[in-house]
Structure formats: structure tokens, C-alpha cells
Amino acid sequence: MSSLYVARNPRVAARSLDGEMMIMSGRDSTMFTLNRTATILWQAADGATSLEQIVQQKICTEFEIEPDEALRDAETLARDLASHGILQISEEPIVGGDSK
């Protein structure tokens, strides 16, 4: 599997409320909340770190989960968030991704 890179879409609004991320899509003002795994993924999605590294460094250390399974789940999650315009996904590092 080739590496995937994820970056937060800078056009969405986001705030952590008690550990849960509130997200308002800039595309159609739809509101989402992210669960803990999705919040970790969102916070780590700087466009430069690959999804694989995010899973190894942030998700597997937080939850007791097999790396392969975690990566598969994270990829599904990332594609789902991308379909709502919340994340950008690419097979290359994403230049100008939201690095905060």
C-alpha cells in the first residue's frame, strides 16, 4: 500500500469541546463532531506526516490495536472525512496543508 498524506482543510472551523472536536464544514455549513480517534487524526493531519506514521505514533500508542487494522480503519476514516471536505488526502505530502 502506498503512503497516504492527510491535511486539515483550512476552510473548516474547528474547536475542541471537552476533548471532542466540533467541526463546521466551510462548504455547506454542516456541523460534525469527531470521536476521539478522529480527533487525534484531525490534530495530527499536518500534510507532512504520513497516515502510517500518524497511526504508529498517535493512534497505536493511545489504543491497544494492531497496526495493520488501525491503519485500515484510519484510512477509511480519512476518506470519510475527506468526502465531507474536512480533510484533504493525497499520495504526496500536501504543501500548504494546515500545519498548526
Binding site: 483550512p10 472551523a13 474547536r15 469541546l17 471532542e20 463546521m24 466551510g26 455549513s29
Partner: protein, 374 residues
């Protein structure tokens, strides 16, 4: 309210988080609306650096929805710098309120790029002679509508805000039609706000009972008229423990000078962000906590009113009348227009005015009056 936002609001309430803040960037304006309650002189607005610092503090305090308003926000030369900071650096969900007459294609494209939740534009009438006579700026309706088109063509969500008053009473349907044609949303507000210093003279521009009754019986506005105008069941224990509104609970207002109030329509000063941290004012201001402590059951006149369960009573308007636990006469008028039943406040005032003209006949041979003319 959208279900998820409602859940988040409940969570914010439980954690004492100011989820939503209106920040007025300036009171200066390029229109001179006849009903406007603001002093348009600049008495020392916050600088760009002060506003950015405040935005940092607000983001750290958990503020998510940020409404940038004024005065006219586009009169600030640093407006886009502030907007970009709020959106791209601090990820606020930003709503804008403006008369839009300074928005052309370039500004509309910039607003689209930055990404705002919505932009609310004040439109008083579909007829230039009426709208422009309210704003006192010739050509302003045309300019506001051009801006709405530019924004719409960029895919920005536009909402027309129509304040109803004597001058434009017959035009709200025209404004709604115009909004439909342009594919934008429309809100109607029949409440004129008194000046922040308590001057109530602008209230005379507000619409009367007959007009309110007409508005409240317009199906296009209120949906099921019968349901809307029905008298609500008496409020039970649960309802009486309810919060009056979001002011001071999950929302507050900050003026261009850094003063913090529970709401833009509730001018009770609770602190200044130039002197204290925003979050400290929010959490520890005695006045903010007093507002926060009030439940419906603590209200003086309203608890004995048949409308209490369904009334739109605004504690800010009540405060401007002299008592934040008292009734708000403008909401009494609305409840009366809806149902035809006078409010407890109206009945009490009627009694008081009867008492004031109490003249009793003196016994023919008495030296002392037994009654009084107050």
C-alpha cells in the same frame, strides 16, 4: 437549532463555556439608519493587536461561533486581517453582519476564500425609496443587493435581516420575495432595540399592535398560525427552572472598546478585556454570575403571567426597562398580539394607572383629604 449544535450547546452550558460570542469591531458606520441605537463616534476602538490577542483568549476559552458585527465592519481597514486571523489561525466558525455596501466582487471572492458560515445583510425594503430613507444613504439598497449577488455567485451563504418598523411595515413580503428570487435566506425582526444608554425614543419607530397581529398571522412567516397564536399551557416546575436565554450562559458580547456584556441587547457591563482576561470575566464576574443565576421562577411579574411558558421575554430588554428580573414590555406586546390576552405586566400597569388617578370625594365637613392625587 440543528441537533448537533444543540448537543454541543448543552455540553458548553454544563462546562460553562462561552460557545458563541458577538464581537463588534467598530461602532462607526457608513449608513445612518433611523432606528439605530449606536453612538457612531470612535471612542478608542481596540487595535488590530488587541483584537488578535482577544481572539486568542476567546479560542482558548472554547468560543466556537464568532459573529463579527458593528457599526459597519468593512470600515475597519484591518477587517480582512482580523477575519483571516479568526478563520485561518484560530479556526472560528465566523458569521458576519454588515450592510454590505462596501462589498464588491473582489471582497466577495476574499470572503469565499476565507470561508464564513454566513453573512447577514440588513435589508429594510425591496423599494429603494423606503430602504434608502431608512439608511439615509441614497443608492444603498442597490449596493447592498449587488453585494448579495456577488456573494451568492461565490457560493457564500447570505441572509437578509429585515427589521420591521413603521416605515417599512408594508414591505416585508416584498423583501421575502426578493430574497427568494436571489436564492438567499431572510429573517424578520419586529423588535427595535433602545439605545444602549437607555434612551427609549427610537422605540416609537416600532410597529404597533395591529401590525404585530398581522405579522403573527402570516402563515408564510410563522407556519401554523393557530399553533403559533395559541396560549401555552401553564409553565410547570421544569419550565420554571429553565434558563431565560443564552445570554451569559453560552453566549456573550464584546464591544469595540473591549467591554464584555451578557448579550448585545443586554448592556450590563461585566468587565473589560483590556484590563482582565476574557475567560476570567466570563467565569468570575459577579454580574455575569448574577445573570447566570436567574431562572424563570425568579422573575417578578412574569411568574404570574399566563404567557410565561411561551413568551419570548428578553432579559436584556427587561434590564433596559430597569429590572433584569422584570418583564419586557416589547415582549408583552408580542404575546398580546399573538394571543389577544393581556400580559400580567400590562394588567399591573393598568391597575397602577388606575391607582394614580384615585380621587376620593371628601366628606363635606372634613379638613383633611382622605384620598390623594398622586
Amino acid at each position: 437549532m440543528n441537533g448537533l449544535l444543540e448537543q454541543m450547546t448543552e455540553k458548553a452550558l454544563a462546562r460553562n463555556i462561552p460557545l458563541s460570542v458577538q464581537l463588534d469591531l467598530t461602532y462607526r458606520c457608513n449608513e445612518r439608519c433611523v432606528h439605530c441605537y449606536l453612538d457612531h463616534e470612535d471612542h478608542g476602538e481596540m487595535t488590530t493587536a488587541e483584537i488578535k490577542h482577544l481572539l486568542d483568549e476567546m479560542a482558548d476559552a472554547g468560543v466556537f461561533i464568532l459573529t463579527l458585527s458593528g457599526g459597519e465592519i468593512f470600515l475597519r481597514k484591518d477587517f480582512f486581517e482580523i477575519l483571516e486571523y479568526a478563520r485561518l489561525e484560530r479556526q472560528f466558525c465566523v458569521k458576519l453582519k454588515t450592510n454590505a455596501i462596501m462589498i464588491h466582487e473582489r471582497q466577495a471572492a476574499k470572503i469565499r476564500d476565507v470561508g464564513v458560515e454566513s453573512i447577514q445583510i440588513s435589508i429594510y425594503s425591496h423599494r429603494p425609496e423606503v430602504h434608502d430613507a431608512i439608511t439615509l444613504v441614497p443608492g444603498s439598497l442597490q449596493r447592498s443587493l449587488d453585494a448579495a449577488r456577488f456573494l451568492k455567485s461565490q457560493g457564500v451563504r447570505v441572509i437578509f435581516a429585515n427589521v420591521l418598523m413603521v416605515q417599512n411595515l408594508q414591505d416585508y413580503q416584498g423583501v421575502r420575495k426578493l430574497a427568494e428570487e436571489l436564492g438567499v435566506e431572510c429573517t424578520l425582526d419586529p423588535t427595535i432595540t433602545p439605545m444602549m444608554d437607555g434612551d427609549r425614543s427610537v422605540l416609537s419607530l416600532g410597529v404597533d399592535q395591529t401590525a404585530l397581529r398581522q405579522v403573527f398571522r402570516d402563515q408564510a412567516l410563522v407556519g401554523d398560525v393557530e399553533e403559533f397564536c395559541t396560549i401555552a399551557a401553564p409553565a410547570d416546575e421544569n419550565a420554571l427552572s429553565a434558563l431565560p436565554c443564552s445570554a451569559g450562559h453560552t453566549a456573550c458580547y464584546v464591544s469595540p472598546y473591549g467591554d464584555v456584556f451578557p448579550c448585545v441587547q443586554f448592556p450590563l457591563p461585566t468587565g473589560n478585556v483590556r484590563k482582565e482576561r476574557f475567560v476570567d470575566i466570563w467565569r468570575y464576574s459577579e454580574r455575569m454570575n448574577e445573570v447566570r443565576s436567574i431562572r424563570l421562577k425568579d422573575l417578578t411579574t412574569c411568574t404570574s403571567c399566563s404567557h410565561v411558558g411561551s413568551c419570548t421575554r428578553c432579559p436584556g430588554l427587561a434590564f433596559m426597562e430597569g429590572n433584569m428580573r422584570g418583564p419586557s414590555s416589547q415582549d408583552c406586546e408580542k404575546s398580546f398580539a399573538r394571543t389577544g390576552i393581556p400580559s400580567a405586566n400590562m394588567l399591573a400597569k393598568k391597575r397602577a394607572s388606575r391607582d394614580l388617578v384615585q380621587i376620593r370625594i371628601m366628606p363635606a365637613n372634613s379638613a383633611q383629604p382622605t384620598g390623594a392625587i398622586a
